[in-house]
Symmetry: D2
Subunit: 288 residues, 4 copies
């Protein structure tokens, strides 16, 4: 058994196996979709459960997971290890098998189009709902209803997922927002038409998640109650204030929301650790 142990160590550490019989493994792949709306190719990275290939009839719940400013589609996988955490939580039963997909909404914000909202010259949200979601849910075996769709994100993507959940409450069973850019104060200077960064700012101002709750009609409040909400932000995060404002607005509107302030700042440690709460949360709220 002596050499076996060392061989296992080698395999485990360098090849990344759990030292267990595993006939199949989850897979992660990066693909590209051409968008007519954006007139551009957009990449996405997708996680498929370990038995995806072996169960050609089985359909799965789906989690859309959004990166932050200057992140891209691979960031959740390469920097915050969403695949590894999901694999572990599935093994222990805390998370359910699901497809996880992260679209590219970014890059260097000074030179690249960026963000999850429509802006003059770059209708990302139209792309997301008219092209991206239909493409994903017809290409992969996704159940494809509200009960089995969730959205999550960090920072700019935390605001994006919250805003998407608000204005498309019929599409998501749950929303998990991490360190979210929930709102931004208005600027005195109007954005310049050719300044992508300034247009992005304007789109965030316009889609304030806090104002949406404050101004919601009774009908909209009912819709918001059909979604399970979780807001998670660090006590050293400089975006904490708008998360508090969002929580207070939700509570005042009598819309249930889970709220946690954990130790931490606006950084990778926080988003990695948030996955241990996020993935079980969206799993619990799927209804297969």
């Amino acid at each position: 058994m002596k050499y076996n142990l060392f061989v296992l160590l080698l395999l485990t550490v360098s090849i990344g196996l759990r030292a267990q019989n595993q006939t199949s493994k989850s897979t992660v792949e990066t693909k590209t979709i051409h968008s007519e709306i954006l007139n551009a190719d957009r990449a996405y990275t997708i996680y498929l459960p370990k038995d995806y290939a072996n169960n050609p009839q089985k359909k799965y719940p789906i989690l859309y997971i959004l990166h932050g400013l200057s992140g891209v589609n691979t960031t959740w996988f390469e920097k915050y290890d969403v695949r590894e955490v999901q694999d572990q939580l599935v093994a222990s039963g805390e998370s359910t098998e699901m497809i996880i997909v992260s679209p590219n909404a970014g890059g260097d914000p000074k030179t690249e189009w960026n963000g999850y909202f429509d802006m003059p010259g770059w209708n990302y949200e139209q792309f997301f709902y008219q092209e991206f979601v239909p493409h994903i849910e017809s290409t992969y075996r996704v159940i494809g209803n509200k009960q089995n769709r969730a959205i999550a994100g960090l920072s700019m993507g935390g605001g994006g997922s919250t805003s998407y959940g608000q204005r498309h409450a019929d599409m998501y069973s749950s929303v998990y927002a991490m360190s979210a850019l929930m709102a931004m104060p208005n600027s005195s200077t109007p954005p310049k038409a050719d300044d992508k960064f300034s247009l992005l700012s304007q789109s965030v101002v316009k889609n304030s998640c806090v104002d949406y709750v404050i101004n919601a009609t009774d009908q909209q409040k009912e819709e918001l109650k059909s979604v399970k909400w979780f807001v998670d932000c660090g006590d050293d995060d400089f975006l904490l204030d708008s998360n508090i404002d969002f929580f207070r607005a939700m509570r005042k509107a009598n819309i249930p929301v889970e709220f946690r302030i954990r130790d931490g700042a606006h950084d990778a440690l926080y988003w990695h650790s948030a996955l241990y709460y996020c993935l079980p949360f969206v799993s619990r709220n799927f209804k297969q």
Copy 2:
């Protein structure tokens, strides 16, 4: 404030700042020491607390942190984020300011010398105690006594740190072993003199942490009691058995030891998350 928020986001995410006034930051650097004993250069990576440069009189506790098989001196920093976790835990008060150093004991085990023990042709342990520790503790401002020195490690380095703690109990206030290779069964075939991998195996067999406890004299047991022990291993780890054997031997010998089995396997997720327990543990056991 609008642009400020986005600029902060950019800085925070891309440059890795906490969005807070920080006049100083912790530093990590990689250096090389020439070993006469090994007749080779050996690299190490060292973490210095954020106020190290500004307090030229201050001396610090030190943690030696050992990598696993096929890891190297940078692995704890690049893959398991020891610097980021320590920075956060210091900020919240859960960990104390300390120097953290990881020596290179490895590389590809098929071609490189490897491991923390002496073996024919490669006296690593002699190097560690006669050259490495003296070099570090005279080059950096280390307090340099048992009360302010700790050792930790994962897998092969978990066994290494435990064995070092056992046979040098007068040097360490605490030992934290993660997913440790505590012992290995003997092999029927003798190791070949030119097979590094086989010599390494033999050295692990010889330095069984379990047998050390079982065979300890009363005097040695007293010495073991002068160290605080923490053993942390996942329930899906294929090395769990030898950790259980170690725990049982310690308990039978009446030597206090903290023992945890958490969810997880022999992988990066486990070692990253273990730091949140390890760093406060060694901090609590420093006595400045």
Copy 3:
């Protein structure tokens, strides 16, 4: 608003309300069933979800929760706060609405009949399966199938729930054993026919959960795999060894089991804190 705050404080603390609109609350009641088999009345304490009375058509999953030696049917409610924890975890979505019932299997073990197994003169297990379960599941609105039935317990009740899960694998979706008395070594002296305590010991020896796994046929192993297992024991618990033996036997038999060793001893703190893991675990494994 000033007086309101203080009035709320008073109500909250003294009457035990969450300071929220709550039109209904969970209820706990203690009842008695007459057992023909035992020729005795036996008490049980039962938790009904907060909307139980308002949903006269709705059926619920059920958790049988077993007390330890010298505990009684009220112990889980009065000492370890199972109702309060379940109410909180339901509110946050981590646990699902369920009925929780704790039968009386004990009292002072020197004078009272005790334990979960059949013994000469006291066929408790026959009572449990032929009288108690049928009574509960016809009196209360219980779904009543394997997918929606779970069992948990502490100490003697941890062994009881494990053994019940083993020999009635078709009845339970999951088993959560805390600080369990999984086995006991045989005694050299035969039990005396009129010594309840000695008969109890003998019944525990006979129903070893460890031996059951070691000796399981292939058919029995398949049955064991149809149950989700969770073993949770403190590192300072004097029963830890038999939990380790059980875990090793399960792993050797290739039957998945979650295993945790947390900080703690054989005491109320451990069992109270275990509920935060147990209730979500059994919830996840219900399939309504």
Copy 4:
């Protein structure tokens, strides 16, 4: 060994032993002090470390722990198990040996004098600082300096401990506030001289912890920075708003504070679980 196990079970559960060699145990006792200032006897309950009696020369750090409205001196011990948690955390090394004392500031608020502040006819704060603290620290072996004194409390006692820490920053190394009544809006109706409840309200309004920070002079801010602050409140707590206000005021004043929002309401579960954070926090900030 068979009977031993059952005998251990009996002893452990009924007598409350850890099943370990324990030559000494912590003790809890309730005593009475006569107050000249209040012209009344006041009870207090005190925890002494397990080796207190055996080390007649040793002095200890001290934690003052304050109950909430309608609680009394025994509440922390009987309902939230401060003794058991402290014993466990000392055993695992997470908490340090300390004396813990809870004075009686309450009872039924409609008929009894109540609260931690001075009010017409009931100068409780004068009693606390001029009689109670001197009595305790001369009767028991308390180190008796800022570095080794901490204060914590829940609800009304969370506000009390925060306010005490603010106005006596030279006395405490750390403050841990749970579910704290940090402030209360002013009332339009003046309090009646013979209405204890109304006088209590007025005293809380007057001693707003939020206003104290907002109005602090530079000198006072420096004093506040000499204390380590921890604010811990549930997301379903109806007092959360004033905790958020306090946190925001502290951050604006650049005074470091740890802030956590965990799952939970204004109840016993929250305060019991908070002890696992509170006791290590105050321990870390003692400097013996």
